[in-house]
């Protein structure tokens, strides 16, 4: 075994060096940044090594075993001799090691290196994209965004003339803009204001306490919230109504022309509060936001802080802020995600997302979707409508938040626990009127139904699987692939394809083990003579043997993939893995018997 290991690792090391050299000195390069060229070549060399590693390992193993068996063939006069069992033990150990290493190279090495190369290939495009967006932003007067994009482009490619030029232009524009702006202390928006946190009786107590203190806003708010959450038979409702009416009367007293600054502020707060109560959370948010930015005193005013927080929290359920999506493209975890959603009425939505960035939010994962398109077809496959939005925010919401009627209307399955809830509208954090809205188009002009939110009637976990599937079945994690294979059809993907790739990847270690055991029999049959001198010139033939081994391995891999389709066709997706395992184990047993049956008669 020692001799096999020496030859195997020596040969692998030699091929590793050759591959690195080949990576550095050969091959045409795609468009790259100057700083990326060396790394790209290193990755190319390593990728080449991972690609030829099976052939190299098989070559090293066969040559090592042929030398090892040839030098010490004793104890194998009879078939199934103890000496052969001892050799078999070593073969299996080597087989398991090779199997592990080759699987790691295929499952981790190649995808990792491929994605690294892809990232480097994307950098020049990313720089161009940032410069383009920045230039557009600069042209439309948004020098702040232009500067940010230019900075990003410069960070990636410090030598980019266009990016540097844009950064310089935008920076000077930002500086002159800042000089003209008053500085304002922005209070921290109190988060987590939740009217749902209290029971009806607690809300009544709070409303009464606020009324007693003369805090009419809070008194009215708590009373109204209590009424909205209470059941009609609740004894608190009557008291809550009385408190709400009394508080509203007090608030209404202020509806006279405001003369003093204090009255004007009170009037603004009241306007904001009314908007909040009417459900216009966006306008309410801007009223309180403007008040908050007006002065330090107002920024810490309890009413302003409280209702700004409340409006912000409500707004978060229907919109998000444009600045949340800033710089997201750089951190995208999935790209070109597409899938179908089939509705009960026979219509189909085709969802396409250009890029997804996953972030850890306060309430779990938040996904920002770049370039979201929903293309709807009617039950005849004809175009019905389409929607496009530059950026959307996707949240994971529990289905229990919807009543049964809504759930059924949305087409959500009863067993689903969480669904993706997509906010389509983004607004500026400080300025009213700056809104990114979804763009709707209809086949029939009369059918206009423009929403600012969208609920995807699929389990949230499936959405995550779909994002992973966009990388391709070969690059999905095996557990994700295992889960997705059975669901592929409903999202427009082929069950056969994902099932076959799943088999390809799960059975690969077994396939390698079979090859190693077969190679051991080959090595025994073609082992070196016991007293034959090893000639150095023979080593020149080893790379040729690797070329042949590569061709044979590729042919076997081709057959292996073909047979995996046969397992799927014969046993269906559920049992294909079981059947595949059974077949390869049977082949392994036969190959093992063939090896154990070798004896000295099969002499050199």
């Amino acid at each position: 075994m020692k001799r096999v290991l020496q030859i195997l690792f020596g040969y692998i090391l030699f091929c590793f060096c050759v591959c690195l050299a080949a990576g550095f000195f050969t091959g045409a390069l795609p468009e790259l940044l100057e700083k990326s060229v060396r790394m790209y070549r290193l990755y190319a060399g390593l990728r080449l090594f991972c690609r030829i590693l099976p052939a190299v390992a098989v070559t090293g193993f066969i040559i090592g075993s042929a030398v090892s068996f040839g030098r010490s063939p004793e104890g194998s006069v009879m078939r199934f001799s103890p000496a052969m069992f001892e050799r078999y033990r070593h073969v299996i150990v080597m087989g398991l090691v090779c199997s592990f290493v080759l699987t790691c190279a295929a499952e981790i090495g190649t995808p990792f290196l491929g994605s690294k190369q892809q990232q480097l290939e994307q950098l020049p495009k990313l720089v161009r994209e940032y410069v383009r967006i920045g230039t557009n932003a600069y042209a439309s007067g948004d020098s702040g965004s232009a500067y940010q994009y230019a900075q990003l482009a410069v960070k990636i490619d410090p030598k980019s003339g266009e990016a540097l030029q844009l950064a310089a232009k935008a920076e000077s524009a930002v500086k002159s803009f800042r000089k003209n702006q008053k500085s304002a202390i922005l209070p921290e928006i109190s988060r987590g204001v939740s009217e749902e946190g209290y029971t009806v009786s607690e809300l009544r107590q709070r409303a009464e306490a606020a009324y007693a203190k003369g805090n009419w806003f809070d008194a009215h708010y708590y009373a109204e919230t209590g009424i909205s959450v209470a059941s009609p038979k609740d004894t608190n409702v009557e008291l809550l109504k009385q408190t709400a009416a009394a508080a509203w009367n007090k608030l209404s007293l202020a509806e006279t022309p405001a003369e003093t600054e204090e009255e004007r502020v009170y009037k603004r707060k009241l306007d904001g509060y009314k908007l909040l109560m009417d459900g216009d959370n966006l306008k309410a948010y801007y009223v309180f936001r403007t008040l908050s930015m007006q002065s330090h005193a107002l920024s810490i005013d309890p009413d302003v802080v409280r209702y700004l927080g409340l409006a912000g929290a409500r707004l978060a359920a229907e919109s998000f802020f444009i600045d949340e999506t800033f710089n997201m493209q750089e951190f995208e975890t999935a790209g070109n995600v597409y899938f179908t959603i089939r509705r009960a009425d026979g219509s189909t939505d085709i969802v396409y997302i250009k890029g997804i960035t996953s972030m850890k939010g306060t309430d779990g994962m938040v996904q920002y979707l770049r370039g979201l398109s929903v293309f709807s077809l009617d039950k005849n496959g004809a175009y019905a409508r389409s929607m496009y939005v530059q950026y959307a925010k996707l949240l994971e919401v529990p289905v229990s938040d919807f009543d049964d009627g809504t759930r059924i209307a949305l087409g959500i399955d009863g067993r689903t626990e969480y669904v993706p809830y997509v906010l389509l509208r983004s607004v500026d954090r400080d300025t009213d009127g700056i809104v990114n809205k979804p763009l709707y188009c209809y086949a029939d002009a009369g059918e206009e139904d423009e929403k600012g939110q969208l609920v995807l009637p699929i389990p949230y976990d499936d959405f995550e699987l779909l994002a992973e599937a966009s990388k391709g079945a070969e690059l999905m994690s095996i557990p994700a692939l295992f889960h997705f294979a059975g669901k592929a059809v409903q999202y427009g993907y082929s069950e056969e394809v994902f099932g076959q790739v799943m088999l390809n990847r799960i059975l690969y270690p077994l396939f390698i083990l079979v090859i190693i055991v077969c190679s051991a029999s080959f090595a025994w049959n073609y082992r070196i003579g016991e007293k034959l001198m090893f000639k150095t010139v023979w080593t020149a033939a080893f790379p040729l043997f690797s070329v042949l081994a590569y061709i044979v391995f590729e042919a076997l891999l081709w057959l292996y993939k073909l047979f995996n389709y046969v397992f799927l066709g014969a046993a269906g997706r559920q049992y294909a893995l079981l059947v595949g395992c059974g077949v390869y184990i049977a082949i392994l047993i036969i190959a093992s018997i063939v090896f154990l049956a070798r004896n000295s008669a099969d002499a050199a």
Binding site: I62, N336, G492, Y526, W558, Y565
Partner: protein, 332 residues
């Protein structure tokens, strides 16, 4: 003593006949089965059931696999001889006779039977299934309705197209798609989804063996002299076996054998390519100067094949004699 050696040698030589027949049979059966699986998988459409057995594919497969097996028969027989070496001169003579029989009798009989029995593929062409995303060029296409095929729908048809390289706002659109182009792109598979998961058998291998087959049929139909010209290719392939006497380690013999066989096949294929255009043109003049060569189909190629065969045989005989003398000195 000499009698025993002769009997042993004769026995080994005679054993080559069933062994060779077995090799051809097993190779052919395995090849035909693999061809049938490939044929059925190539015809698989996402969402439809895979047909595991197809008698037409099995029958068709025989005519595809057999010429490949015949061309590689020398290599297979040589591998057998390396594994079961020894036996003196008689097995070598038997090897040569089997080679001559393969190229002189079996191959022509096969071509004759192929002309008689092979039928045009009458397989039903399945249609594409709706409801799947498929790659078409640089785009992704979603076939929205009904099953469509290039045959049923030779013209353009509506489909949802996702253009990943377009500006995000224009990425998804309804477009006219030419289904025939999609079918061409996925060839030889019926569905590009399946093609993406199975590497297509390299075109150069398929094209190479198809070219050999075409040449063989042409040579046989053009007469015995042309067939003799074509047999020079077989001669070169079978004579590579002589090189396996060069090394004392059989693993190295295998490497020599496979590398040189690949070399002979590659040269015979590349000879007709543009790489050898200049060589063919300059050699054509020499061919016409020698009258006895003008009757041959490709005189230069024949000369090269025969020349290399003689070299291989010469090297093999020299190596065998040298080894024999060495063994004698050692007293083996």
């Amino acid at each position: 003593m000499i009698g025993d050696v002769m009997i042993k040698s004769l026995k080994k030589a005679l054993l080559l006949i069933p062994a060779y027949a077995g090799i051809l049979l097993v190779s052919c059966v395995i090849g035909v089965l693999v061809y049938m699986l490939y044929f059925n998988t190539a015809g698989l459409i996402a969402g439809k059931t895979l047909q595991l057995f197809d008698s037409h594919a099995l029958f068709e497969g025989f005519f595809v696999v057999m010429p490949v097996v015949l061309v590689l028969s020398g290599t297979l027989l040589s591998c057998y001889r390396i594994r079961h070496s020894g036996g003196g001169i008689l097995p070598v003579v038997m090897y040569a006779l089997l080679g001559a029989a393969t190229w002189g009798i079996v191959y022509p009989v096969f071509i004759e039977s192929k002309n008689r029995w092979q039928t045009n593929p009458g397989m039903e062409i399945p249609s594409l299934t709706a409801g799947y995303f498929r790659h078409a060029g640089k785009n992704v296409v979603y076939v929205p309705y009904g099953s469509l095929s290039a045959e049923e729908c030779p013209h353009d048809a509506d489909a949802v197209v996702i253009n990943e390289n377009a500006a995000p706002e224009d990425a998804v659109s309804m477009q006219m798609i030419n289904y025939a182009e999609m079918a061409d792109e996925s060839a030889p598979f019926k569905d590009i989804l399946i093609r993406e998961t199975i590497p297509v058998m390299p075109g150069w291998i398929m094209d190479g063996f198809a070219a050999i087959e075409t040449r063989a049929e042409y040579a046989w139909n053009a007469g015995y002299v042309n067939w003799l010209s074509f047999m020079s290719f077989g001669l070169a392939l079978f004579s590579v076996y002589a090189l396996t006497f060069c090394s004392e380690w059989r693993l190295i013999d295998i490497i020599y054998l496979l590398v040189m066989e690949s070399g002979v096949i590659s040269f015979n294929l590349l000879y007709f390519s543009d790489y050898f255009l200049q060589f063919r043109e300059s050699a054509a003049g020499i061919g016409t100067q020698m009258k006895f060569l003008t009757a041959l189909d490709e005189p230069v190629l024949v000369c090269v094949n025969v020349f290399f065969s003689l070299i291989f045989v010469f090297i093999g005989i020299t190596a065998a004699l040298t080894r024999g003398r060495k063994n004698k000195r050692r007293g083996i």
